[in-house]
Symmetry: C3
Subunit: 169 residues, 3 copies
């Protein structure tokens, strides 16, 4: 089972994804894409850590997501990827268009072959006005395209608003 | 009955909340949190006032929402609070983290004990890219957390898009 | 049948609207409101063109949408208008409040009398924080008001997220 949990900032999407993982009978791996670049980000990461069960195994990977998933893939594993938005942002900040395109294609192509249950978390970022700055617009574009590709590849899609999941697929 | 009406800017969320209040058989109190700080805001307030029934009682409270609710609480009252977004914004602009935390906790804790029907209106602000400025990010965080707490405390939650309510709870 | 397809940036809303048009047994007209002002916009337009059936007739109109619709209106036509957001933006950039108000009123009033099937595409832009700049706030206001008016006039409304349509009406 592959699932995508979408939602805005502070929508409760991570909490919802964690609840889905808590119900799993498989061994849970938490794959974090965050990069604690500054103190604001560090405190956001710390907050997330406090809310997770301590026995979950933590994997950290900022860029090579597909490879990291493949490494821990197994029929009795449940992998929670939190979150794709930061992964896209990390790849874009490398200022390397080809790397993002390659990594995304690899992820989408390998997804049907992975044996693990996977729960992806990602931010909806495209419901405001077109942002200032070409990088920001690129980020909105790439996030949106990724979400469209993922919904095709996933069995279930939830959109979380104010802590309440809305089933889209 | 406690309800939360969420929606984006110009989504028709206030209109939807007003329609809910119009159907109430109780005496309607309109609790406004707006502060007419400039002419743009004044004209937005005036526009809202034109659209409301004249016999509704108007209460204005920018900061101490829980106290204001308690003061008019009664079994035969229906209180329409428009809107929580401005209340959060007013508290944040006081630049007093403790005041916001206190006021929010007081509101959430007292809510189950209030005898009035209450309809809260609030803006979804977290579906765009992460905004510039720490205060803006704080505002998005606090709004999102408040909505999550409120959906737990409320009996019904609607998300309004283009004037059309979507029931989330 | 009049339909409105709403969605965020890169949500797949245009693709969804095109799929609706492809199912139509009528002659499809693609009414584009885009103005290729810079190279970024040109490449976005080119991308949309590649994805459309070549036999659809292309009409371009940046400002006088109602007139353009009336000109090609017929019982056996299906008109896909992509998108209203750019149309509002074009009218606002003319810095002529009266022109926008007139054009919008003309569109809304004539809509029930048009014999064609019409599919409108528009961007949800109001789910982020209140943007900087009076023109941006005006744009969010006008877009939201237009959507509310259109949902009243349309038979069906879909909100597309990550390529998945959610039926609102």
């Amino acid at each position: 089972m592959k699932q995508l949990v979408l939602g805005g900032a502070r929508s409760g999407k991570s909490r919802h994804a964690e609840k889905l993982a808590e119900k799993s009978t498989k061994s849970v791996f938490y794959l974090a894409t965050a990069n604690a670049g500054d103190s604001e980000m560090s405190s956001r990461i710390a907050l997330h850590q406090q809310q997770r069960p301590a026995h979950w195994q933590l994997i950290e990977e900022e860029l090579f997501l597909a490879k990291a998933l493949q490494k821990i893939d197994a029929i009795d594993h449940c992998i929670l990827v939190d979150c794709l938005t930061l992964w896209v942002s990390n790849l874009l900040c490398h200022n390397n268009a080809q790397l993002l395109a390659e990594q995304k294609a690899t992820l989408i192509n390998m997804l049907p072959n992975l044996k693990s249950d996977i729960i992806f978390v990602s931010n909806e970022v495209g419901h405001g006005i077109v942002p200032m700055g070409e990088l920001n617009r690129r980020f909105v574009d790439e996030s949106g395209w990724l979400h469209q590709d993922l919904t095709t590849a996933c069995d279930k899609v939830d959109f979380v608003m104010a802590g309440l999941p809305l089933s889209l697929k």
